[in-house]
């Protein structure tokens, strides 16, 4: 049993339209000093079998499906249970 958290974020050089709107909304609410907001994704995966090269498998899953390498970066954590 393993619980994997994959964190997917937009590459820093790309425009994050969503983050911009959230930042504007926070400013409108009166919060000052907000220098930047970026919105990304978490994908939490539960895997029955944590044996073997689970890092490699997760990395493969990220590249194949979860992450768009043209626009996104990723990192992940594995919590074996």
């Amino acid at each position: 049993m393993a619980k994997v958290n994959v964190y997917v974020t937009l590459k820093p050089e790309l425009l994050d339209a969503q983050g911009k709107v959230v930042q504007g909304a926070l400013e409108n609410l009166g919060y000052t000093g907000i220098e930047g907001v970026r919105v990304g994704k978490i994908v939490e995966i539960e895997i029955a079998d944590a044996a073997g090269n689970i890092e490699g498998k997760i990395d493969e899953i990220c590249r194949k499906l979860l992450v768009n390498p043209n626009t996104e970066d990723y990192r992940f954590e594995i919590e074996k249970g």
Partner: protein, 229 residues
């Protein structure tokens, strides 16, 4: 009898709603800018559909924090009529003026299509021109149209006749297959407890002429206008 149509940055259903009131109801109508708090003097306020603030973060989340929504909260507390359509429904839920939330469609895709809804309540200011059980053909267009609320809120919705519209098949049967987005109890539209605030995902303001595929939306618009007479 004066209608107001709220304009948020990026909301795009404002023109449809405005035109429907002009062309179909032939009533006076004015835009209300999202920064305005001057909402008195309107007999009904429409919070239109269509992607305020780009639907970013969660549809309706950013718009629900605007000054106009604060003002509308006070207006509604005093019995003022408010109808939120599509994104307007999402805004009203986000603002807490209606219970529940609208979640991502069960197939995780945007869906635009004419669907059928069954009228569940014809006592309201938004539906008294319909009969209970009547089927309306209306368009939906959303990515997050799946209505959800927790069990504690769902019961009163049902028992207090606060469900306005439910997705159904052409013959009016509320079935699993007729649910386009996974909404709880096939809910397409609801009322608040007091009955003066309504929200719905289908767009009555776009179905106002047979030439557009349906004029069933006129029943809802006329319900609002004529109750006010």
């Amino acid at each position: 009898m004066k209608f107001g149509v709220v304009q948020f940055p990026g909301s795009n259903g404002d023109q449809d709603a405005y035109n429907a009131v002009c062309d179909v109801l032939k009533q006076p109508v004015e835009y209300i800018w999202h920064k305005s708090t001057a909402v008195d003097g309107f007999d009904c306020i429409i919070i239109p559909g269509g992607a305020s603030y780009g639907d970013y973060l969660r549809p309706g989340a950013v718009a629900s924090l605007s000054p106009v929504i604060d003002a509308i909260r006070g207006y509604a507390d005093q019995g003022g009529r408010v109808i939120g359509i599509g994104n307007g429904f999402q805004i009203l839920c986000e603002a807490g003026l209606l219970p529940g939330a609208l979640m991502t469609n069960s197939n995780v895709r945007f869906k635009c299509s004419y669907i059928s809804v069954r009228v569940e309540n014809n006592f309201s200011d938004f539906s008294h021109k319909c009969t209970v059980g009547q089927t309306l053909s209306l368009p939906i267009e959303d990515y997050q149209g799946s209505y959800y609320c927790n069990a504690d809120e769902l019961k009163p919705l049902e028992s207090e006749n606060s469900i306005l519209l439910r997705y159904c098949d052409k013959s009016g049967k509320v079935t699993y297959d007729a649910n386009p987005n996974g909404s709880a109890l096939n809910i397409a539209g609801i009322l608040n407890e007091a009955g003066n605030v309504a929200g719905m995902m289908p767009h009555p303001e776009r179905a106002v002429d047979d030439i557009l595929g349906s004029a069933d939306g006129v029943l809802i618009l006329k319900s609002i206008a004529q109750r006010l007479d």
